[in-house]
Amino acid sequence: MVPLLLRFVAGARAAGLRVSTSEVLDCLQHLERIDPLEEAQFKSVLQANFAKSRREQAHFERLYRLFFHELRQDLSIARSPELAETIQSILQSLQPAVGTDPSTQALVDFLAGDPAGLLEHASARSGGAGSPRSVASAGGSSAGRRRELADRIRMLEEQLTEVLAGRRDELGWEERRDLSAHFQDRLNAARRLLAQSIENRPVSTERLRSFRHGVDELGEVHFASLTPREVEAMREAIAQLVRRLKDRISRRQTARRRGMLDVKKTLRRAAAYEGVPLEVFHRRRPPRKAKIVTLCDVSGSVWSAARFMLNMLYSLQGCFAQVRSFIFVAGVQEVSEIFKQHAVNAAIEKILKEADIDYNAATDYGRSLREFRQHYLDILNRQTTLIVIGDGRCNYTHPEERLLAQMRERCRRLIWLNPEARQFWYSGDSEMRVFEAVCDEVRPCQNLNQLLAFITALVL
């Protein structure tokens, strides 16, 4: 039992599950007290000890199924120790052919019954582009590496057949039949393992590692280059981040809200203790909440960044006195109503489909600013933070930065978020230099980490 469990733990660690030694000890202790032959019990013991959060659960399920069901050693062979020896010696004789190639070595280990190496390979593979591990293990796309590993499996298969044929004198045909069946089983299992890690590649990006890690990786991906599944994952990540941020805000606010000594209340309570002020009360200050007005360029590339910002802002609505949002391409449209009526994500989808705006028009900052000033200038006041999100590319029309300056005059501060990398800001039709002069703050906002930094600074 102990070696089996240790092998599972080694495999689980290789695949990115965090298991501590004390947990292994606990688990062994627990296994003594239950009936390990009943699988439901056995599994729940392992699960209770090794998968200690919701997110690890799915990963654990997969590993468990893999280890105890799919990779299981063939029982008929495991029972005859003399064959096990032969297996070892055959694998030994493969050693010169293996050389120093780590992936072949992992496969040979796998044949010998130790899946840790292969699991690590497979999961490094499924880490996806951008994960330092897969880059370190060898360059190249994951598809290419997969093909390579499949080639290795085929090579190994041929070599094994050769070795077995070469030992015709020592081994009886029955033994050879058993051995080749065993190796075939293991190799097929390896192929399945490989195929499986491909199947759930995009999801496993955040499942395989600890969640934080997943966010960090996702956090550095440019908004515009997210795949639809990553957008899904991103929404989940944002929900999580927002929840954590709300926690921090409420703690911060309770601390900050403590105002001056409330003399009246303290004295009133002191009367109960013969005038000794044992309990001291403070006045509570109402938290100062900002009004937010966002002005989003929704043309093409900018929209991908804007939608996540809107998602975050509206998820944090309670932290602001008011959020009003406008979108523009060549003309302004208010979308606050849509957000009021629908849940955040539904609203964002709706805006794309239903808002009365020509998404294909050439972006015209001048006209948009003019329209905004004409209709909505009165909503800007001393409590308002105006956030403009756009790339500042005016298609060589007049940027009308003077209007932006007028708007700046009326509000508390003006922040410009640019989803382009800073080195492109001042090239071509970008009027960032002009706009930058007017703004209180200009930030690049290309990925989740930058967005999060901005939102955190905004609410705290």
Binding site: R33, S53, R54, R243, R251, A343
Partner: protein
């Protein structure tokens, strides 16, 4: 002292919990059994309303132990969780024994001596009499084994979590004025969390982890029948199926077992024999607690969402 009931094996746990009105999966029973056998705390996670708190209550019921509950919230501190000195009572006693002070310090030759004499009486004011035990101290100093439920531990601050860690690993508490209190019996500890923030690894490592998910169909049916014996078979089937379908939708708050039970109860109260779309539309507020959720389900109904039993994949 009579011996408190103990769980003998996993099957016994299941039977005992069922006797206490709590039906659980084998996984839950295994973890509960191990927690009792190895005296480790259980950290229960899962969506709201799947019976996390109820589990602790059921365990207390069938082990015949007292349940001590500590509800966590932001800003919960040691004074609220462990113990507090009763200032008011101390003050009152001081007032009443004021005259006695004269006797104590009578004949003192210097102020220093008078202070020493008063200090010698200090114990009278920092004694058991004036301490107000809060849930954690109650659980530790209980005469009989208890079940300690630390509810919604994720709502508490990280500092409190660290403090909890200390208590849970040693089961002893030191009160400066009185000395160290060691637990007479290690309590059966259940921590529940709604996953609103991640618990620290250290805390997780000390606990057995249990994730209670929405139950499968048979289990839910069994629960409904146990809690509402009056419900008709047909209605129970339809009800559970409908809830499972609604759960499959993308809702803000998915209906959990507690909602299923509430709904079942209201249907029984309304004397509904069969679940029709009309009934579903009118009683939707019982299962969906958000306006947008209600709207979503209504829309689905308009589009031909059926409540009749059938393969779950048929809708959407």
């Amino acid at each position: 002292m009579e011996t408190a009931p103990q769980f003998e094996d996993v099957a016994h746990v299941r039977a005992a919990l069922e006797g206490a009105g709590y039906i659980c999966s084998p996984g839950v029973a295994t973890v509960v059994f191990l927690a009792q056998a190895t005296r480790k705390p259980i950290l229960v996670e899962g969506p709201a309303g799947v019976g996390k708190t109820e589990l602790a209550k059921a365990v207390a019921r069938c082990l015949n132990r007292e349940l001590i509950r500590l509800q966590c919230y932001e800003g919960l501190d040691e004074a609220k969780a462990l113990y507090e000195w009763e200032y008011a009572k101390q003050l009152l006693y001081t007032q009443m024994v004021k005259e006695k002070i004269g006797d104590v310090v009578a004949g003192a030759r210097s102020i220093a001596e008078a202070v020493d004499r008063i200090a010698a009486q200090e114990d009278a004011f920092f004694s058991e009499r004036f301490i107000q035990p809060r849930p954690l101290l109650q659980a530790i100093s209980a005469e009989h084994p208890v079940v300690l439920l630390i509810d919604e531990v994720d709502k508490s601050d990280p500092e409190f979590e660290a403090f909890l860690l200390e208590v849970l690993s040693d089961f002893q508490v030191s009160i400066p004025e009185l000395g160290t209190r060691r637990a007479l019996h290690i309590p059966f500890v259940v921590l529940t969390s709604n996953d609103s923030r991640d618990m620290s690894d250290a805390l997780k490592r000390r606990c057995l982890h249990l994730y209670i998910d929405y139950p499968d169909r048979d289990l839910e049916l069994k629960i409904v029948r146990l809690k509402l014996p009056l419900i008709g078979d047909r209605l129970a089937f339809q009800l559970v199926d409908a809830v499972r379908r609604i759960r499959a939708l993308d809702l803000k708050k998915k209906p959990a077992i507690s909602e299923t039970l509430d709904w079942a109860q209201s249907l029984v109260a309304l004397q509904v024999e069969e679940l029709s779309l009309e009934v579903l539309r009118e009683t939707l507020n019982v299962i969906c607690k958000h306006r947008s959720d209600v709207q979503l389900v209504r829309e689905k109904i308009e589009k031909g969402f059926s409540v009749a039993p059938g393969p779950l994949t048929a809708e959407s």
